[in-house]
């Protein structure tokens, strides 16, 4: 799926540019986007190093396990394959909480860490497991309580009530997250029927 979309975007882009004489822009885009990718990753280093360092302390001291036990009832339903005492649970919980408060920067390292643990649980295979797909669905649907960036932009353009969209955002985010979980379950049962899991 990713392979097809990736190739399609590139090939269609190049062919379209050939027909419409925008090839110079395509050339520019290749190098600019590549640079953007590297810059983005380098920008991640500071946050990753700091948060992974902090979270290592939380993991070793047992704080992470303690924390996740609060949310165990809901999470064990969502991730039936993850043992409740497993560090993966702790990372999943902290990632979800960071996302809720619009702390995308803090959420990313925690999410990656959760993925790493889920991969270990799946015997280190390079195939996405059921729990990984569920976790990704939770993240892409973006459970948000405080959309900090958007509020900042609304203030910039002189909104009379920059925070008035918070309520709607919470309603919509609940809808998308619920939908993501349901869709994820649907695909899981479809895979199971087809004998692929």
């Amino acid at each position: 799926m990713v392979n097809i979309i990736w190739v399609t975007m590139l090939v269609v882009g190049i062919v379209y540019a050939a027909c419409n004489g925008t090839m110079d822009k395509v050339n520019q885009a290749v190098f600019n986007s590549a640079e953007e990718g590297v810059t983005l990753c380098l920008g991640l280093i500071s946050i990753l190093v700091f948060w992974l360092g902090m979270m290592k302390i939380a993991e070793k001291s047992g704080l992470l396990t303690k924390f996740s036990s609060l949310f165990r009832p809901i999470l064990s339903k969502l991730f039936p394959e993850v043992p409740t005492k497993h560090p993966a649970m702790g990372y999943i919980v902290s990632n979800t909480i960071a996302n809720m408060f619009g702390l995308g920067n803090a959420a990313t390292p925690l999410g990656i860490k959760a993925m790493e643990q889920l991969k270990k649980l799946n015997g280190n295979k390079n195939v996405a497991s059921r729990s990984m797909i569920t976790f990704l669905a939770l993240n892409t649907s973006g459970l948000t309580l405080v959309p900090t960036t958007v509020i900042a932009f609304r203030m910039k353009y002189h909104s009379a009530a920059p925070t008035e969209i918070v309520g709607v955002t919470i309603l919509v985010t609940i809808c998308t997250t619920t939908a993501a979980i349901l869709i994820d379950r649907f695909f899981y049962h479809r895979r199971k029927r087809k004998g692929r899991e």
Binding site: I14, L44, K56, N139, S141, V172, I183, F187
Partner: protein
């Protein structure tokens, strides 16, 4: 509202404080453990580079060639039938593909229609209620070396569709059109 804003400023420092105090209480060599964990962060960031570069170049080429605008213009009338305002269509489509791209479009819509208009509110809600599916997929799976992504992309994109539909419904209901 003030409570939520205050909470988001306090949560990180409180978290750091709690981790350090609890670690010390449990007699963990805090500084060494921190350095140990931090080292992983460096190699992790480097390992994501190829995934992100590949995805961003594809999106960049698709957009710069003009193909993206063509696709947007083709499906605009189709989506209008279902009550999707045509002004919001580019944002709805780019939202799952590029986070910074979507932020740019939202900023443009807020400027053009004012933040307190129907389009402005809808754009704000749409931007804040979902995440960049492609980015999350690339970074999370890329960092741990997952090559076969299964149904993950399909699930993410379908959830994004639900996000667009419910944004339109809720913004219309709560603020009126």
């Amino acid at each position: 509202m003030a409570i939520i804003t205050a909470l988001s400023i306090w949560i990180i420092p409180i978290l750091i404080g709690t981790i350090l105090v609890y670690g010390t209480y449990k007699r963990i060599p805090t500084y060494e453990t921190f350095v140990d964990g931090g080292k992983e962060g460096f190699s992790m960031a480097i390992s994501i580079i190829p995934y992100l570069v590949g995805m961003l170049v594809a999106i960049g080429v698709f957009r710069a060639s003009g193909a993206m605008d063509m696709v947007l213009n083709t499906i605009k009338p189709f989506l209008s039938i279902f009550g999707v305002p045509s002004e919001i269509v580019p944002l709805a489509i780019i939202r799952p593909i590029s986070g910074t791209g979507a932020l740019g479009i939202m900023s443009d819509l807020l400027k053009q229609y004012t933040p307190d208009s129907f389009i402005g509110r809808l754009a704000s809600t749409l931007q804040s209620s979902t995440d960049t599916t492609f980015y999350v997929l690339t970074v999370y799976f890329g960092a741990v070396g997952i090559h076969k992504t299964g149904d993950a992309l399909k699930v993410g994109l379908l959830a994004d569709c639900v996000g667009v539909i419910s944004s339109i419904i809720f913004v219309s209901l709560i603020f009126g059109r």
